[in-house]
């Protein structure tokens, strides 16, 4: 019996009535509660300003919650931010790296501060190949990189961190279709490595293709959350627009 309980996977990423009101009074997040388990890919959809980035920033303790809490591997992020961040990797919507450094040098620096000082040049080359950055760009300075190329480097850094939790804020923004497709395969393999992945995106089709759980956010609230399996035979785009419209009329009424 006791064994049974301990085998229950405890959520790797968790928020509990997480609320954020910015200094200017904007309520960006309103009592958000969600869980992402190891091996689960949780996708957040939602219009601009819905609160997706705010959620991720709260996980990273970039901002303090107004109330409620977010935790990573059971560690409350605003109480023990350094301890919590050991267990998480992050890719932002616009990855910015050191312009004077090459792709490999950037990987080297960010892996080292992420706690991996044992990686070799081969490891860096392998991971860059895995995310699809052309071989001849590996030793080029970041100065001339396109947004998609930077995005690939950011994803490589997140993979190298080898953390049990991964936060992705519109990671595919700027990726070409081929890279986007490869990224989905990559997510799949990360999931099979038992990572808990929380991703925000505007890409409904990819979301449906890959997600385990799909949530729709609006005005800081989670207005829908379903296992992707339940939505298999529905048109997600239509559903999304319906939900948004329904919420709008509710909000208006």
């Amino acid at each position: 019996m006791i064994n049974e309980i301990s085998k229950q996977p405890s959520p790797m990423l968790q928020t509990n009535n997480l609320t954020k009101r910015y200094e200017d009074g904007v309520l960006a997040l309103d009592s958000l509660t969600l869980e992402v388990n190891p091996g689960e890919l949780f996708v957040m959809l939602g219009g601009n300003g819905a609160g997706k980035t705010t959620t991720i920033n709260l996980f990273l303790n970039f901002i303090e919650p107004t109330s409620g809490e977010a935790s990573i591997n059971g560690i409350v992020t605003h109480k023990e931010p350094l301890e919590a961040k050991k267990h998480v990797a992050f890719v932002s919507e616009n990855v910015m790296l050191y312009q004077n450094f090459t792709a490999i040098q950037n990987l080297d620096f960010f892996s080292k501060i992420g706690g991996h000082s044992d990686l070799s040049r081969d490891d860096y080359r392998d991971v860059l190949n895995r995310v699809g950055l052309a071989e001849d760009a590996h030793n080029k300075r970041l100065k001339g990189f396109s947004k998609g190329m930077r995005q690939k480097c950011g994803i490589a850094i997140a993979i190298l961190k080898d953390a049990p939790a991964i936060l992705l804020d519109e990671p595919t923004a700027g990726l070409d279709p081929k890279a986007g497709y490869e990224f989905i395969r990559l997510l799949d393999s990360l999931r099979s490595e038992n990572k808990a992945i929380l991703m925000s995106t505007h890409d409904i089709f990819r979301a449906k293709e890959i997600a385990d759980t799909i949530a729709i956010m609006d005005s800081g609230r989670m207005i829908m959350k379903e296992p992707a399996a339940n939505l298999a035979d529905q048109n997600l785009e239509e559903l999304y627009l319906q939900y948004m419209a329904g919420h709008d009329t509710k909000a208006a009424g």
Binding site: I63, A89, F110
Partner: protein, 473 residues
């Protein structure tokens, strides 16, 4: 972790064009200042030797010591003073030992070459004060705010990196990268000294080393200051603007404003005022002497056949004693009034220094000029040295001639009985100028060096505190 941050910071700085350009400018200026300093030293040394020789030459052929009309001494050039000129160019570097009862120094460099007074020298202190501080600001203003703008801060702090480690690493990294390049430049500059034949004693090398150290501390103040400001601002353009204003205040305004404020607060009698007082006392004393002269009544028997001779000698004795009294009164008065002026000056000076020390630029100036022996102390030191020698010369002349060398008119009747021998100018005791001692100089510099270290500490603490609350998104 710290090591990683430091390494990255150094690599980032060293590979930037901004660094290459500023570093090149800095190296050129530092080398130039050493070259100019060494060249100036050699020129001054030549002039000094020529002046000393000329001074002795004008005594040649004279037959009596009392006919030596002037004996000048000169401040010998010092190698460190060529690098940190301080006030050495502003003060009189010459004093005539036979001009009167008072030693007056005259002939400052700016008096003789006024063009330098307009443009000043390109010395090490100037490079430190202006160039190092700008160098530090230019390379440090975007330390934090720039990383935020470039977006790298966000990814960095997605990892479990303590903020304190990060900012300490940034400070150490940037200080190491920039100061090692400065040390290289200073080391190359030092090579000019032996190459151009400037004699440096072991003590002088030590002092130069501490001067360089103070320069680096001063550089550190502006670097930590830049870090502090950049950790308070979200945009690098605002931190640059703030730092520029702070720089103008620290380097340009505060030192001057402090002197003006102190001048208003403490009144020092002007030299003209003192001269007026002296001349009115002099004429008063002369008037008294004249009165005494008219009352001169020798108690002599009119029938004495040698009466005229006796009266003559009594009169000259009487005049001599009047002269001595006048001299004593004059010098007592001068001493007192000069002492008063000196004390007031000290109070004013201390006040203005302490006010100006709000700016690290003042502390750097005071520390380096104290170390180079060219602080305000030099005026007093040179005066004390020349005064001591003035006594030696006075005693020597008195011994040779039996007369007060500063007394004024000397009448000597040569009865032509013996052929006069020419005097030997080398008999005159020579002026052995001893520069300000190393221990004294270092002690005088220590408080300001401490102050510079304190500024470093305060600014860095400020940077740590404000970065603790910094929005890294």
């Amino acid at each position: 972790m710290l090591k990683i941050i430091i390494e990255r910071e150094i690599k980032d700085i060293v590979s930037s064009t901004k660094f290459a350009v500023t570093f090149a400018v800095c190296v050129i200026l530092i080398l130039a200042s050493f070259y100019v300093g060494a060249a100036h030293y050699n020129l001054n040394k030549q002039q000094y030797d020529a002046s000393v020789a000329e001074n002795l030459r004008q005594m040649e052929g004279l037959t009596e010591w009392y006919s030596v009309r002037q004996h000048k001494v000169f401040m010998p050039p010092q190698p460190l003073a060529a690098l940190v000129t301080g006030i050495s160019n502003d003060i009189g570097q010459t004093a005539d030992m036979l001009a009167g009862s008072q030693v007056i120094t005259e002939g400052s460099r700016y008096n003789e070459d006024p063009i330098f007074a307009v443009f000043r020298f390109l010395d090490l202190e100037f490079i430190f004060q202006i160039v190092l501080s700008l160098f530090a600001i230019l390379l440090g203003y975007d330390a934090i705010s720039g990383e935020k703008e470039r977006g790298t801060l966000r990814l960095t702090f997605a990892s479990n990196l303590p903020r304190r480690t990060y900012i300490l690493g940034k400070l150490i990294g940037s200080f190491a990268a920039l100061s090692s390049s400065l040390i290289v430049a200073l080391g190359l500059g030092c090579l000019f000294l032996p190459m151009m034949g400037v004699p440096m004693s072991g003590d002088e090398w030590i002092r130069l080393l501490i001067i360089a150290g103070s320069g680096l501390l001063y550089f550190g103040v502006f670097l930590t200051g830049s870090l502090f400001v950049s950790a308070m601002t979200q945009r690098s353009s605002s931190s640059f603007l703030l730092l520029l204003v702070a720089w103008i205040l620290a380097v340009m305004i505060i030192p001057r404003a402090s002197v003006l404020t102190a001048a208003r607060a403490v009144e020092v009698p002007s030299v003209d005022h003192i001269a007026n007082q002296r001349s009115s006392l002099a004429s008063q004393l002369w008037a008294e002497s004249r009165d005494a002269m008219t009352n001169f009544k020798p108690d002599i028997d009119d029938d004495d056949p040698e009466a005229m001779m006796k009266i003559g000698s009594m009169f000259s004795q009487f005049m001599d004693s009047l002269g001595t009294i006048r001299n004593d009164q004059m010098s007592e008065f001068s001493d007192r009034i000069n002492e008063e002026r000196f004390n007031a000056q000290q109070i004013q000076q201390n006040l203005s220094f302490n006010l100006a020390r709000i700016s690290p630029s003042t502390s750097m100036k005071l520390a380096t000029s104290n170390l180079a022996g060219t602080s305000l102390e030099l005026t007093k030191h040179f005066r004390d040295e020349t005064r001591a020698y003035h006594k030696v010369v006075g005693d020597f002349i008195r011994e040779k001639t039996g007369m007060n060398p500063h007394g004024g008119m000397i009448i000597k009747i040569n009865d032509g009985s013996e052929e006069p021998e020419p005097i030997d100018p080398s008999e005159l005791p020579s002026f052995e100028y001893k520069p300000i001692r190393t221990a004294t100089a270092i002690n005088a510099a220590l408080p300001d060096i401490g102050l510079l270290a304190l500024f470093n500490f305060l600014f860095f603490t400020g940077a740590v505190i404000s970065f603790g609350r910094y929005d890294v998104r």
